[in-house]
């Protein structure tokens, strides 16, 4: 199996911050908005270098979304920044009316997504945001896996015309993708070719999927691992080619199994190539306080859970 090396743990939100710094230098149309979470979003450098292109809106996310929509009218590319919870559920109608239905070129950038936010607990851990955003017509939905990919995605979405939801997280996680990668929206990344099972993962679970695949290899099971960073539009061709080969799939996401990546994959398979599928995702539940690692284990989102799901789906395939 192809080897991936952790270049040193880093948080994906810092990848966003690094991307914003670079965008600030190369694209004068990029502006940044934040709702009192500058430190959490890691955009200090962008603000220092571009004070005129930063808008501190205070703890007022609805207003932030509307201002972002208005800024596009004068030709700017606004990147909003707050936690995933306050980037989506709290402001759904503002996004729906003023951004998505109005076709505005706003980049909704959301940190602290999912359970790995940790100790703050369920009030701040959103597990429904992918579903909320992918339901909006015209919205692109991206969930990146590490620092390097988040930085690359931040740069890529500035060049994409249309609203985008970019989801990333709080904890430091292995940084294993190429620092010079090009990010192609809607194009899945084949991490490891295999023949027995397809593992499709997004966000923090991509690394866990690779760990699971290594264990499975020692057990004689050949797993194909695909990093689906873009949930909408979904790379159906890559997915279908893989499942046609392996005959079964496990989807992995730090999100509710209702409305997330898994359901998008299931819909695609149902239409084109029905096959057994297992979901590594939360089971229609809220989170709770704890460390990121404890939560991933308790809610069945770590590499052990992925291995178990693979064994289950292989039984169903047989």
């Amino acid at each position: 199996m192809r080897k991936y090396t952790d270049q040193g743990k880093k948080d994906t939100r810092s990848g966003f911050g690094a991307g914003m710094t670079e965008l600030g230098r190369k694209n004068p149309k990029v502006v940044s908005l934040c709702a009192d979470l500058v430190g959490s979003l890691k955009i200090e450098q962008f603000i220092e270098e571009n004070p005129d292109r930063f808008f501190q809106v205070g703890i007022a996310e609805a207003n932030m979304m509307g201002i972002a929509a208005g800024l596009t009218i004068g030709g700017y590319i606004p990147f909003t920044g707050t936690f995933a919870n306050f980037s989506t559920g709290r402001v759904y109608d503002q996004i729906r009316q003023s951004i998505a239905y109005s076709g505005k070129n706003v980049k909704i950038c959301a940190s602290h997504a999912g359970l790995t936010l940790g100790e703050d607990g369920a009030t701040h851990q959103i597990l429904e945001d992918i579903g909320l955003m992918k339901m909006l017509p015209g919205m692109t939905v991206i969930n990146t896996c590490d620092f390097n990919q988040t930085k690359a995605a931040t740069l890529a979405i500035a060049d994409h015309e249309g609203p985008v939801y970019l989801r990333f997280g709080r904890p430091k996680v292995p940084n294993f993708t190429d620092p010079d990668q090009e990010f192609h929206i809607g194009k899945a990344v084949m991490l490891n070719e295999g023949k027995d099972v397809t593992i499709v993962a997004t966000g923090h679970l991509v690394w866990e999927a690779l760990q699971a695949a290594e264990t499975l290899e020692q057990e004689g099971i050949s797993a194909e691992v695909i990093n689906i960073h873009t949930i909408k539009p979904l790379d159906e061709n890559t997915l279908l080619a893989s499942v046609r080969k392996t005959g079964c799939v496990v989807t992995c996401e730090e999100h509710n199994y209702l409305g997330g990546l898994g359901e998008s994959v299931a819909r695609t398979l149902t239409l084109h190539h029905p096959a057994p599928q297992e979901f590594v995702a939360t089971r229609d539940t809220f989170g709770e306080s704890g460390t990121a690692e404890q939560l991933m284990e308790k809610y069945g989102l770590d590499n052990k859970a992925i291995r178990k799901a693979v064994l289950q789906v292989l039984k169903r395939k047989a």
Partner: protein, 281 residues
């Protein structure tokens, strides 16, 4: 500059457009539309600096945002009369496959409209964003917006009002249609707004009261005064007192015609009170 007589002719014709549009499809919002007709005519035919041709970015011209999108009939009539799209398109208001949706939208590409509105309380934030973009672009033109008074019950407005005052967004003139009516009755009974001007002042705005918001000359005078206060460190708010349904006697002084169309007989009465001036669409 249009003459007073020309503006009055446009106003009367726009009233006819409004009642005919809502009558045809037996739906829409005539009350607030009629109450703001003078405001729209003064804004588009006297006060705003506009390019002849519509572009989404609006660079180098004044911008207008309608937040209380349900008064789309007056907006559509004035945009068509100003030449943004063919007059006969008013025939398609609220019909299938029309660009003139029940509430304004950019989705169908109607020239003159820059944001979807109608889900109340969102327009001021958008207007602020557009005003900030003008500042970044070193564009000295003004951003205007219109909001219903009942609409101020939506909390997002107060986030926006606080932002504009705190951050000195002084290229924005927000007008409040203070007709004191909303769907369930008088605003002060439904959810008292109290002294709206004092609230804006407390949030750092420059506030002007417009006592007769159905008088063209009074609107032009007050809005011109508002323009003179642009660029002085404060956003400007105009509290415009209007009569809902103005110009059609049986629709005045009541919220009954907020979202109700006239029947055939009522349409004729309304049209008789507003004789054709520029030609019906």
């Amino acid at each position: 500059m249009a003459s007073q007589h020309d503006l009055e002719k446009i106003t009367t014709q726009v009233r006819r457009d409004i009642v005919r549009m809502v009558h045809k499809v037996d739906s829409g919002h005539p009350g607030g539309s009629l109450g703001c007709t003078e405001f729209f005519v003064a804004l588009y035919f006297e006060l705003m600096e506009l390019h002849g041709k519509f572009s989404m970015d609006g660079i180098g011209e004044d911008l207008f945002f309608l937040s209380n999108g349900h008064i789309s009939p007056v907006y559509y009539s004035v945009l068509a009369r100003k030449g943004y799209f063919p007059l006969e398109e008013l025939n398609t208001f609220r019909m299938l496959n029309s660009r003139l949706q029940g509430h304004p939208t950019t989705h169908e590409g109607l020239p003159g409209v820059r944001i979807a509105s109608g889900s109340l309380g969102q327009g001021m934030s958008v207007a602020i964003g557009a005003a900030l973009a003008k500042k970044l672009n070193k564009d000295k033109h003004i951003v205007y917006s219109l909001h219903g008074d009942g609409e101020l019950q939506e909390g997002q407005n107060w986030e926006a009002i606080m932002y504009a005052g705190s951050k000195k967004v002084d290229n924005l003139i927000a007008t409040i249609d203070r007709n004191s009516q909303q769907i369930d009755g008088n605003t002060e009974d439904v959810m008292a707004l109290g002294d709206v001007g004092a609230k804006f002042k407390a949030f750092g705005w420059d506030v002007l009261e417009l006592e007769n918001g159905n008088d063209l000359q009074a609107i032009i005078k007050t809005l011109s005064e508002a323009k003179s206060r642009i660029g002085k460190g404060k956003p400007v708010c105009v509290i415009m007192h209007t009569v809902m349904g103005h110009g059609v006697d049986f629709m005045m002084h009541t919220h009954a015609w907020h979202g109700k169309a006239p029947n055939d007989e009522q349409l004729q009465r309304a049209l008789a009170q507003n004789q054709e001036t520029l030609g019906d669409y």
